[in-house]
Amino acid sequence: MTSRPNGEPLVRLSGVNKWFGELHVLQDIDLEIARGEVVVVIGPSGSGKSTLCRTINRLESIEKGEIAIDGELLPEEGKQLARLRSDVGMVFQSFNLFAHKTILENVTLGPIKVRGTSKADAEKRARELLERVGVSAQADKYPAQLSGGQQQRVAIARALAMDPKVMLFDEPTSALDPEMINEVLEVMIGLARDGMTMIVVTHEMGFARRAANRVVFMDGGRIVESADPETFFNHPSSARAKDFLSKILDH
């Protein structure tokens, strides 16, 4: 489907290590993600995949190693970090829409406050994005009035409104009712087709097969295997991945 990406890596992690107290949650992670590439990160719970995703915009700090986005190292804190984060879209498992703002305001807040876009321009763009994810009719409602699937699609629109260089998805469908999962995945597949660089932590193997350029399998805080979906699902090389796949794919 999407053409193989090339050129300088857009996201580069090298020698990344993180501890939660005694727990060594990320161990010597090296990962490069090319422009336009869609990487799906899978693994058992507790394998560090969500933490990995959250380190890329520094919602989690790291103790050792380097993370660079578009050639620029992640700053420690402050305004530079905020600026860099604005180029990295993030979609959370629990949506995290701003509860006190309407759907439209959720999408325009970033562009207005961070990019300095005028209210009129931000709203015009927000309505286009809401249209694209299929929730334009809900623009004036509050998040709690929407279904989970709708909320998550708004969250994607909110991230897209910043024109991010890369999008992070941290288990975007794990909190959804089964019948709402597909509406979110369809939006994500559309994004992948349009060439968005994406890092997706998910348990949705169907999405990995259809949209991913590469599957990264994590276990115990390490990247155990990294391969194209075809190879990974049909001929996993590590015993751990074989075991994991046998448990989730059989039924």
Partner: protein, 215 residues
């Protein structure tokens, strides 16, 4: 009744003094208290320390002692402040500590995901607080802030001991000369406080229902 009518001007002036003392101290407490709460959740450790020091100092000092310091202590270091401004400062600075704790509890009640989502779209710490966290925090702290406000109104009575002619100062002043009208004076004073506190409770209740949000 005749006694109240005869002394109406006195009651009115005392009432207005209590009212303006409450309003000025209330605004000071709300602004400073919110700022202190923001400092207490700031990522900068010295700012957190400073705010914690402030809150613990004022929360654990009797208000009368704060008044004493303002009115008699400050002149010792050549900083003379009038009785009324001293009362506003004392009540306002003291109450700010309680406002800070109420607002902080509200900030803690806002789910961490809200702040994470704000940071993820590139808002700075200050913008995250202003745009996302505080507006939601205030909704949950309306009832406790209402308590702080009503307690503060009653606390303004300490000013009576420091030459401010507010409502409670009428008690010794009128009763000394008219012992027979003790109950009438008490009634007048209590009604004066209630004229402020009861509408406040009503406003707080209305506000609570208006800002209630769906989660």
């Amino acid at each position: 009744m005749q006694f109240l009518i005869d002394n109406f001007a006195l009651f009115r002036d005392a009432f207005l003094t209590t009212l303006s003392l409450s309003l000025l101290a209330g605004v000071l407490a709300l602004v400073l208290g919110t700022l202190l709460a923001a400092l207490r959740v700031s990522p900068v450790a010295p700012l957190r320390g400073l705010a914690t020091f402030y809150v613990e100092t004022f929360r654990n000092t009797p208000l009368t002692v704060v008044f004493f310091f303002m009115i008699f202590g400050l002149p010792q270091i050549d900083f003379v402040i009038g009785f009324f401004p001293g009362a506003v400062l004392s009540v306002g600075l003291y109450t700010a500590a309680f406002v800070a704790e109420a607002v902080r509890s509200g900030i803690n009640a806002v789910s961490a995901g809200q702040a994470e989502a704000s940071r993820a779209i590139g808002l700075t710490f200050g913008q995250t607080l202003r745009e996302v966290v505080l507006p939601q925090a205030f909704r949950t702290v309306v009832p406790p802030l209402g308590n702080v406000w009503i307690a503060m109104i009653k606390n303004t009575s300490i000013a009576a001991g420091f030459s401010v002619s507010e409502l409670s100062s009428l008690l010794p002043r009128l009763v000394n000369a008219n012992a027979g009208d003790l109950l009438t004076v008490l009634l007048g004073v209590v009604v004066g406080y209630m004229l402020i506190t009861l509408p406040s409770a009503y406003v707080v209740h209305r506000l609570e229902r208006r800002v209630a949000i769906l989660r």
